[in-house]
């Protein structure tokens, strides 16, 4: 029966829980004040991806501990979207409680954070030699002439190809090395026709591939000021749209709708090439049965003056927040990600991470031949291409403009005039600024 007794029990248990967790919290509270925020030897980091960023930090911690045995690193793991949300909420509310010392930020978003929260991040030039890093990485974290980032993964792109399928269609790896996107499309048509396997896969909502093309040509969605939308006059973007349409309409493109289907497409052998960032390597090699069938080639270039066979997709850098202990955070990053060649060897060996740190490429881990990729020195190749990536100003509107362009692309694929859709996009982007 549900009577007075029940009601009383209900109320009592509510009180009980209330006091119980009150106690639980104060216990946690005690623990915490000894830890993250209080201790001079402990740093907190916010990042995402347990197999990549988190592992990299753990390796860094091991290295740093060799000289600083008291050092402790508390790694808080959330998805990237969640890190962005937490960081924005904390910084915009001005509440310092619970902020981490160190945070990872994707390069495309860095300018947006640096300009939105001036004074919240600490300049880091003094902790490491910025000349040792590829220019485009340093530029991503430079705001008002000060460098706020320590670069992490390079995001260097490559063309992953199935050599067995190429062979079947009468091509060699040589034929797809240092080519243009036009050549890429032509070979693709042939290979798809002869093998029945699609040439590549893409999601119409994800314009990453067009970003790759633009950076290889040294331009971006905004002009050099990082603010003015650069759409109608952007030859590279226009060419990118045309290449995209050609890939789609010629039937060589497999269309996927999300990340899982993307992974599935190459793991299931449904596509012959994957033009993307080097962080995809672990996903490619996840399919053991395809070992020896894959190879990497430089990413195609655009038929534009100055376009090169090297580009970048994604990639993040590390930032230090302007709270207590920021000197220690700077020193830790400077001593590991900023200058430790051995550390980069471990990164390459353990998690296939290619940094943008030039001296690291000389190390042993970069000279290893990969069986999966037919004996190629994958890390070395990526490290070399990293140095050729053109630097561009990402600005703070990359994703905002890209959302507008996703609609433009849809319209264009449905038959609208390219100049008109880009004109419309330019106007919309300008009105949003």
């Amino acid at each position: 029966m549900f009577n007075k007794k029940t009601a009383l029990t209900l109320g009592a248990s509510a009180l009980l829980v209330l006091t119980a967790c009150g106690n639980g919290d104060s216990a946690n509270e005690g623990e915490e004040s000894e830890g993250a925020s209080g201790e001079p030897n402990e740093l907190t980091v916010w990042t995402w991806d347990p197999n990549f960023n988190v592992r990299a930090l753990e390796i860094a911690e091991e290295h740093y501990k060799q000289d600083n045995p008291d050092f402790e690193l508390e790694i808080v793991e959330n998805s990237q979207d969640d890190v962005i949300q937490k960081l924005n909420t904390s910084l915009s509310s001005g509440v310092e409680t619970g902020l981490p010392n160190i945070v990872f930020i994707e390069d495309y978003r860095a300018q947006s954070f640096l300009s939105s929260y001036p004074g919240s991040f600490v300049p880091l030039e003094e902790y490491y030699n910025t000349d040792d890093f590829a220019d485009y990485k340093i530029k991503a974290g430079t705001y008002e002439d000060e460098v706020f980032n320590v670069p992490f993964d390079s995001g260097v792109t490559g063309l992953y190809v199935r050599t067995d399928l190429l062979e079947e269609a009468g091509y060699t790896l040589e034929d797809v090395t240092d080519i243009t996107w036009d050549e890429y499309v032509e070979i693709g048509k042939d290979v798809t026709e002869k093998t029945g396997v699609k040439w590549m896969t893409n999601d119409h909502n994800d314009l990453g591939i067009i970003r790759v093309m633009m950076q290889s040509s040294g331009v971006w969605l905004t002009e050099e000021d990082g603010e003015t939308p650069y759409i109608t006059d952007n030859e590279s973007l226009k060419l990118g749209f045309e290449t995209y349409k050609e890939l789609f309409e010629s039937g060589v493109m497999n269309v996927h709708n999300d990340w899982d289907q993307f992974l599935q497409a190459f793991n299931n052998g449904e596509v012959a090439t994957v033009p993307t960032g080097n962080w995809i390597t672990p996903s490619i090699t996840a399919e053991d049965s395809q070992s020896g069938d894959w190879a990497i080639a430089p990413i195609p270039r655009q038929t534009i003056e100055g376009s090169v066979n090297a580009s970048n997709l994604g990639g993040s850098s590390i930032y230090v927040l302007n709270i207590d202990n920021n000197e220690l955070a700077g020193e830790f990053l400077g001593a590991t990600f900023g200058s430790d060649v051995d550390f980069y060897q471990d990164l390459a060996t353990e998690i296939n991470a290619i940094g943008a740190y030039e001296p690291a490429a000389e190390g042993e881990a970069y000279q290893v031949e990969s069986e999966f990729f037919g004996g190629q020195m994958v890390n070395k190749n990526f490290a070399e291409w990293t140095q050729e990536i053109p630097e561009v100003e990402f600005g703070g509107s990359t994703y905002e403009i890209e959302d507008i362009l996703a609609v433009s692309l849809q319209d264009y694929l449905n038959g609208a005039d390219l100049d008109e859709v880009l004109e419309k996009a330019q106007q919309q982007a300008e009105s949003g600024m």
């Binding site: 029940t6 793991e77 959330n78 998805s79 949300q85 599935q264």
Partner: protein, 277 residues
């Protein structure tokens, strides 16, 4: 006549079974997936595999899921009891003793349901920054801080008031004649009579609390305090997500809510009201 009845029965069961199968299918996929490797999950493998123990190992090696379930339990149970008690007080008060002033307050309360929580997050976080200053046990990075904004919600107040409309008010008069105080009327007449309403409120409050994501994400900082959804989200944050393990973590953490529902739905038996009279 008998045949017709039988036909009717068969038809009804057929309808129920087909519908339930449709509702259950994605859950079936979840169950099967916990035994498969990540690559097979993304392929949509619908048959059981042999990866269960590997997945189990991954979940327990890479996450502190037991601790998270503990945290989620504290939050969900605490929030459920307190919220349905406090909110039903208001729902009852607004419906049984309506006055003009109260109607205005009530309308304003309903209004607070209409704004997306995302818009309240930054001011609320700032507020908890202040609370942390003088009462750290209720502030940022505490489980009480996770619960506090949900002790009284417009949603539950509205729910209890709408259900109180169906409450036979003559029972109150009878109670008054029996000499019950106003509080006695609530705890000894209203609460027992409306037990199915409390059961429904309990289910949805528990579920919403268990699945709550945005606010715990923002207010909790120390992984030791993380609730289940935060741990699962982090597990899926990789460029190379291990879907077998993710599915297993999801399955484990779905069971409590399913169990609560299964237990409380037993209160949904016709004619309960009669038994109290």
């Amino acid at each position: 006549m008998k045949n017709k009845l039988l036909m009717k029965k068969i038809l009804m069961y057929a309808f129920i079974i087909v519908t339930c199968a449709m509702f259950f299918f994605p859950f079936y996929f979840l169950i099967v997936s916990v035994t498969n490797a990540s690559i097979d999950v993304t392929r949509g493998q619908l048959l059981p595999g042999k990866q269960f123990f590997e997945n189990l190992k991954t979940v327990f090696d890479t996450t502190d899921i037991v601790n998270a379930i503990g945290n989620s339990s504290i939050v969900a149970i605490g929030q459920t009891f307190i919220a349905i008690f406090i909110s039903s007080l208001a729902g009852y008060g607004f419906e049984v003793h309506p006055t003009k002033g109260k109607e205005i307050v009530y309308t304003l309360i309903l209004g607070s349901m209409m704004i997306p929580f995302a818009a309240l997050m930054v001011p609320l976080f700032r507020l908890f920054g202040v609370i942390s200053g003088f009462a750290p046990g209720f502030g940022i990075d505490t489980l009480l801080g996770v619960m506090l904004p949900y002790f009284s919600t417009a949603f539950l107040i509205f729910f209890f008031r709408q259900n109180a409309k169906m409450f036979p008010k003559e029972l109150l008069e009878a109670g008054r004649i029996d000499g019950l105080s106003e509080i006695g009327l609530f705890t000894r007449v209203f609460m027992p009579t409306m037990k199915t309403t409390y059961a429904a409120a309990g289910i949805v409050t528990f579920m919403n609390s268990w699945n709550n994501y945005l606010w715990p994400l923002v207010i909790l900082q120390n992984p030791k305090n993380y609730t289940v959804p935060l741990v699962i989200s982090a597990l899926g944050s990789s460029y190379t997500p291990d879907y077998g393990a993710i599915m297993l973590a999801i399955l484990i953490t779905t069971i409590p809510t399913a169990l609560i529902f299964f237990l409380l739905q037993k209160y949904f038996v016709a004619g309960m009201i009669g038994s109290i009279k």
